[in-house]
């Protein structure tokens, strides 16, 4: 076979292959791709995106450095939380944070951190983004770890001597960890 002929065969093969690829691609786009936008998004660095990211998933991988004790948490609670959440996490205008020891099946179930919340990481996430209500996003990481330690201690989930940090908070097993059933089929 001459080089020319071989080139023609190769060329034909490539054409057919490209044609098949394009037509398959076209089908796929027609079936699944939404209309394309004008592409005006501005790419940002991973560092910039990370700075915006205040959410903590259950595995705790986005938890910041730092740590806090039950004693430090109690001190901070008395200064910043007690006016709404009451003494030791009960009473006053905000909802109960502590209690519900009688379980969730009675006539008056209490959905507290200890009785209901499935993940300890949610405490860090929520306190940082939303508390205290008059100054959200103002607490330091050490302060938030300390409040987590205090609230988990009041609920009997950790011991008084336990220190909360990224590793220990992620490892906390909440009593109601298995208490939730995913309803929507897309969520399973």
């Amino acid at each position: 076979m001459s080089t020319d002929k071989r080139n023609i065969w190769v060329g034909a093969f490539v054409l057919v292959a490209v044609g098949l690829f394009l037509s398959r691609g076209a089908d796929r786009i027609a079936e699944t791709a939404p209309p394309r936008g004008p592409g005006l998004g501005h790419q940002v660095s991973l560092e910039t995106a990370a700075a915006w990211d205040i959410s903590i998933p259950p595995d705790g991988h986005n938890l910041p450095p730092g740590s806090g004790t039950v004693a430090a948490g109690e001190k901070l609670y008395l200064a910043r939380c007690i006016n709404c959440h009451g003494k030791r996490g009960r009473g006053l205008s905000a909802e109960e944070l502590v209690g519900g020891v009688d379980g969730l099946t009675g006539d008056y179930p209490e959905k507290t951190v200890g009785s209901y919340w499935p993940y300890a990481t949610t405490l860090f996430d929520y306190i940082r983004r939303a508390m205290p209500q008059d100054a959200p996003l103002s607490l330091t990481s050490d302060e938030i770890y300390a409040l987590c330690a205090y609230l988990l201690f009041l609920n009997g989930v950790v011991a008084e001597a336990d220190v909360m940090n990224a590793a220990t908070l992620s490892a906390v097993e909440m009593p109601n960890r298995e208490g939730f059933v995913r309803i929507n089929e897309m969520a399973r």
Partner: protein
């Protein structure tokens, strides 16, 4: 014209009335207990007019008006005739205005606010459904649920960040998004906690909107979420969830299955033709037609593409429903079908026996409303109500049915059926299935009792 012309099959009421053979029911004959009449009574008016007197309605076919319990003038008394040429015809009217406001005589049609006294930005305001007609909610009356107030966002300083399992983390300014191809949807937004007074052991006495008005309906316009996610290039093999977060002082967030992001979700910039109101998410919010209000994140600032749900506070300790076995329903995204009668309803008063129009709203997060049935005898018998076109998926649907009230005590109910066949449950059935500690997703049939005196109250069953 061939023989398939459907108009030839239409028998006018007059022709039917004149037809020989077995007597057809008159349009003014009740179609269900308690005096419910055919939903298309007025379309049958040719035959009906002759028997209007049988309803005790003189001359023409007008509905009696509902009164207000708080009204100053005694019911049934006509106000005096105004002068032939009223004063506002004799002097120039008010000036043009840059932005119109409701008539000062409609000042009572307002949202009803319930909030935590120690943190006034944490609470709800209810749409006064009992005072509105049609299906759309005026922007100033759309319900509110804020967890820590309405943020004063400066649009130039707002960005939407898409990051996580994407090829390119991207930010969008408001002006960027305004240049994208837009879509519009007429759809309701309903708080997962709407109607939750229904879980109480005794029926709470309040106006319809104060019980069920954490639901509103608007035309929303914005950019399909799929377009923005495609631009960022999501990792199809790992991406299963989106965590959406608002720029309010509680940074309210929700995890949403990625599949739903490609199934009708969009970033809304406009509500009923104008830019979003601050209390409805200005400058941009997520809109997921038919899904629980809390997933429609207002003041949207961040979408993180992830493999697992974030398990944030508002999808674990809140917006989950405890059931009797001690487990909790989670990610109960779809708002099930619901309906309620808005007139008559508590606070309105019957003005003596006569012909009334029962009207209300029905909606379903699963799609279109297929039909609404109304009962005037506490659910013993039902008649189909007329649905106001257009009947759209995930949208408020107005229903109406005429009612010949003879002055006897009655219990009015409405029951919605959606296009999937889902039937709005009785309170008894809902409580049997879910207990009374779920707090969210209460959608049982609503019952209004009309006393012999014409007073309307909330009852169970």
């Amino acid at each position: 014209m061939d023989g398939n012309d459907p108009s030839k099959d239409k028998k006018s009421p007059r022709r039917r009335a004149a037809a020989t053979g077995p007597a057809e029911p008159l349009p003014t004959d009740p179609v269900a207990g308690g005096g419910l009449l055919h939903r298309r009574l007025f379309l049958k008016s040719g035959a009906a007019l002759g028997s209007a007197a049988a309803l005790g309605v003189t001359g023409t076919f007008a509905f009696a008006a509902y009164g207000e319990e708080s009204a100053l003038e005694p019911p049934g008394e006509m106000p005096p005739m105004p002068p032939a040429t009223p004063p506002w015809m004799k002097t120039p009217g008010g000036p043009l205005t840059n932005y119109g406001q409701p008539s000062p005589h409609e000042k009572k049609v307002i949202r009803w606010i319930t909030s935590n006294q120690s943190s006034p930005g944490n609470g709800v305001s209810w749409t006064p459904l009992q005072d509105l007609e049609g299906a759309m909610t005026p922007n100033g009356l759309h319900f509110e649920r804020h967890h820590n107030g309405v943020p004063a966002i400066v649009p130039e300083q707002h960005r939407l960040l898409i990051h996580g399992l994407v090829a390119r983390p991207l930010t969008f300014t408001v002006d960027d998004l305004l240049r994208y191809p837009m879509m519009s949807r007429l759809c309701f937004v309903e708080c997962g906690g709407n109607s939750n007074a229904g879980w109480n052991p005794r029926p709470l006495q309040a106006r319809a909107g104060h019980l069920h008005g954490l639901a509103s309906c608007s035309e929303w316009s914005g950019v399909p979420l799929a377009v923005l996610l495609d631009e960022a290039g999501i990792d199809q093999t790992q991406a299963k969830w989106l965590y959406a977060e608002g720029a309010d002082a509680a940074a309210v967030g929700a995890s949403i299955p990625v599949a739903k992001a490609f199934d009708g979700a969009f970033v809304a910039l406009y509500q009923n033709g104008e830019r979003l109101r601050p209390e409805n998410g200005y400058p941009m919010r997520l809109l997921i037609p038919g899904w629980e209000g809390v997933t429609n994140i207002k003041w949207l600032r961040r979408l993180k593409v992830v493999a697992e749900p974030m398990m944030s506070r508002d999808e674990t300790s809140k917006y989950t429903e405890l059931v009797p076995d001690g487990t909790a329903r989670q990610f109960t995204f779809v708002m099930d079908a619901k309906s309620l009668i808005t007139a008559p309803s508590p606070g309105k008063k019957m003005q003596g026996p006569g012909l009334y129009q029962i009207t209300g709203l029905a909606w379903s997060g699963r799609g279109r409303i297929a039909r609404v049935e109304v009962s005037a005898d506490g659910g013993a018998s039902w008649a189909e109500a007329e649905l106001q076109e257009p009947v759209l998926p995930h949208c408020f649907t107005r229903f109406r049915i005429p009612w010949d009230w003879q002055g006897a005590p009655a219990v009015l109910q409405s029951r919605a059926v959606d296009e999937t066949g889902y039937v709005q449950p009785t309170r008894e059935a809902l409580v049997a299935a879910r207990g009374t500690h779920g707090y969210f997703h209460y959608n049982a049939i609503v019952s209004w009792r009309v006393s012999a005196e014409g007073k309307v109250s909330h009852v169970y069953g």
